[in-house]
């Protein structure tokens, strides 16, 4: 019994781990192209992503967790959408909507500490949810391909974000546009001096647990998963899969909106030009590689944040390797996960070979 469960967990991890290993091998080639030493590069990458000398002084691990926080949330957002059968990649747009809402309410309203954060988070989640509702509705009512509609909504959101930043929310006429700094009552407290790592991460972890409980322990979550896995079956079972899909898109949007609020209240404390750096897409890849499981998304988000931070702070500064290396590697890893059948076929072959050998040995012993 226990053995079976272990085997299942092992199987779930096998393909992602093989994909990551393949990605790291490709990375060696990419580093070689740029002319930097390979072994040292890996060392620097590890040191600058998951190393830690002294907390608060030189601890990239804390920075990695801080970077991972919004990616965990957008990863959960994509996870919920995927589980309901919606291949939504609108996390980027929903994230931006949540961020703008948080940056605006952060300085525009005055509330006591504690309540202020709650109000902002609720409003940001609502903004993200509203933006997620649009493609959900279009898909269910009109069968508009959600991939196409969310891509376009992302592009629209980027322009809306820049417009709001440049005109209504702009604080002053400096070279790079930025909004007013949020009130002290709206800031999410941090744990250590000198790092922005704080309550945002706790919120993200709570969200991981919440999404897990919702999807696997509630009736509504069960309906959603059934709608995603077998919509025909769900229909015959009396599950309204349309409603489940729309609900999933609203929850998904709310989670991305939450990511925006956490990023603004916890890290930047305002929005500025260059704010959107692909956190939505990182979340998307985390959800794909995390096997549409909330805990998987959590692990992968931290891993990806580490790879990106390490290639930016370590490889770019030390060896002059372009920082896009991080993004390229995560792209390759997702590509390898997409090709999971390749690994599965070969794993099957290796297993068969072992089984045959074992059978042959047994036969020998019997004889």
């Amino acid at each position: 019994m226990k053995n079976k469960k272990l085997r299942r967990i092992f199987d779930a991890f096998l393909v992602p781990v093989l994909a990551i290993i393949s990605g790291l091998i490709v990375m060696a080639v990419m580093i070689r192209i740029s002319g930097a030493p390979i072994i040292e590069s890996y060392q620097v990458l590890l040191e600058k992503s998951f190393g830690c000398e002294k907390i608060g002084f030189n601890c990239p691990l804390i920075s990695t967790l801080e970077r991972a926080t919004p990616i965990i949330l957008t990863g959960l957002s994509a996870t919920v959408a995927f589980q309901s059968g919606m291949f939504s990649i609108g996390q980027e747009g929903q994230f931006l909507m949540g961020s703008v809402m948080a940056a605006w309410l952060g300085y525009a309203i005055q509330l006591p500490f504690g309540l202020h954060q709650l109000v902002i988070i609720a409003a940001s989640m609502a903004a993200g949810a509203a933006y997620g509702y649009i493609p959900g509705l279009l898909k269910v009512k009109l069968k508009v391909n959600e991939l196409l509609s969310t891509i376009m909504l992302n592009l629209v959101a980027i322009q809306i974000f820049i417009y709001l930043l440049e005109y209504p929310l702009r604080a002053d006429r400096t070279e790079v546009a930025h909004s007013h700094i949020i009130e002290p009552t709206a800031i999410l407290p941090t744990f250590f001096r000198g790092a922005k790592f704080g309550w945002g991460f706790v919120i993200a972890i709570l969200a991981v647990i919440g999404v897990y409980l919702y999807l696997w322990k509630t009736k509504s979550g069960y309906e959603m998963r059934m709608a995603g896995q077998a919509s025909r079956f769900a229909l015959f079972g009396g599950i309204p899969s349309d409603k489940a899909a729309i609900r999933a898109m609203i929850i998904s949007g709310a989670l991305s909106g939450l990511a925006g609020a956490v990023e603004v209240l916890g890290v930047h404390r305002r929005i500025m030009g260059g704010f959107a750096t692909g956190i939505g897409f990182d979340g998307l890849t985390a959800a794909i590689l995390g096997q549409r499981n909330p805990f998987g998304a959590l692990i992968v988000a931290i891993l990806f944040a580490g790879i990106k931070l390490g290639s930016q702070l370590g490889l770019q500064l030390k060896f002059g390797i372009p920082r896009e290396l991080g993004g390229t590697i995560t792209g390759f890893i997702v590509f390898f996960v997409a090709a999971r059948k390749f690994y599965e076929n070969n794993i099957e072959r290796v297993r068969e070979w072992f089984d045959k050998r074992r059978a042959a040995k047994l036969e020998e012993e019997v004889n």
Binding site: M30, I33, S34, F87, I89, L138, L142, K143, V144, N145, L147, L148, S149, I151, M152, L153, L155, V156, Q159, I160, I162, Y163, E166, Y167, F281, L284, T285, I288, G320, I321, P322, E324, L325, G327, T328, T330, G331, F332, V334, F335, V337, A338, A339, R340, K341, F342, N345
Partner: protein
């Protein structure tokens, strides 16, 4: 009012056609794929790859026309990889396409920086922009000459491809096979059509079209490469193909529409005080709107077909009862 009317000039007509070209090429790629039953959501990646490979090849080979060829090959190769993985390992198309899109977005910038130093935008004076060609007779006709003449070879090629694709799809055996595979892959296979080969060829051609569209951006329209240069044009192309009902001729007009939306946006920015964001969002909003319209059209079509079917059924039942 005078300020607004000054938007509409003959330059607008020209730039509309220029801006429609990459969208049209992507849309033709989308058309041929959709016809063969594969929704090609990696057009954006193939286009961006074409833009990068096109300008790099033009730089190293000292010839922009060879750059175009290289871009088409790169796009086609990506299409073939796509087809191989899809058929051999039965991969989820949406995930595969997404991984392509993410990968190419980062990989092109990485390669640009590795090859040409840490720059955000790369260009080199030795690269030649594709020359504009005046068509001998047409260029002398007063108004029409200004509209239809004076573009580079890619623009004319894209027009030619529209006609070639129409002829291939509707007048040849190969085209019949493509459509048969797209309509119903099982029945196509039972009559002996090699569906996998057909889809692979469609994906190859589709990639080549998208790659050419990308090269038009980097060596035909501008003369540089920058991060995310295609900026959603591959997706717009796919939408244009859906809007055009996957028919080359109607897809052509859909692409022209998108080209003019973009040209209009650029032009409005030049002559009015409107904020650039409000204008830049226009092409994307237009694409969304078109997607919704397409969905409405399909819905109405289905309900009409259903009604007709019911009426026919009623008639058949009635005539049987009489007999």
């Amino acid at each position: 009012m005078d300020g607004f009317l000054s938007v509409f000039t003959i330059e607008l007509l020209n730039s509309g056609i220029r801006l429609a070209t990459p969208v049209l090429l992507a849309a033709l790629g989308g058309t041929i794929c959709n016809k063969s039953g594969v929704l090609n959501m990696a057009l954006e990646a193939k286009m961006l790859m074409g833009a990068f490979v096109g300008i790099v090849a033009a730089y190293y080979l000292n010839n922009s026309y060879l750059g175009l060829l290289a871009a088409m090959l790169a796009g086609g190769l990506m299409g073939s990889i796509f087809a191989f993985l899809y058929h051999r390992y039965n991969i989820n198309l949406a995930i595969l396409a997404t991984s392509f899109n993410l990968l190419v977005l980062e990989l092109t910038v990485y390669m640009m920086r590795v090859m040409f130093g840490n720059v955000g935008t790369w260009s080199d004076p030795s690269i030649e922009r594709l020359p504009d060609i005046a068509i001998p007779v047409i260029k002398d006709i007063p108004f029409i000459g200004r509209i239809f003449s004076g573009y580079n070879i890619v623009v004319y090629a894209s027009w030619a491809f529209v006609i070639v694709l129409y002829v291939v799809l509707y007048k040849t055996k190969f085209g019949r096979h493509i459509r048969a595979v797209g309509e119903n892959i099982e029945s196509a296979e039972t009559v002996g059509i090699n569906a996998k080969l057909i889809q692979s060829l469609a994906l190859f051609l589709s990639g080549a079209f998208a790659g050419l569209g990308g090269a038009f951006l980097s060596i035909g329209h501008l003369k540089l490469f920058t991060r995310n240069m295609s900026n959603g044009r591959g997706w717009t192309g796919l939408s244009a193909a859906l809007f055009g009902g996957n028919h080359p001729i109607t897809t052509f007009f859909a692409s022209i529409f998108f080209g003019y939306t973009e040209a209009f946006a650029v032009r409005v920015q030049n002559v009015t005080e409107l904020s650039p964001q409000l204008v830049e969002v226009l092409p994307h909003l237009a694409t969304l709107l078109i997607l919704v319209l397409v969905a409405f059209r399909d819905k109405i079509r289905v309900s009409l077909a259903r009604r007709k079917f019911r009426e026919n059924l009623k008639k058949a039942v009635a005539s049987q009862e009489e007999g």
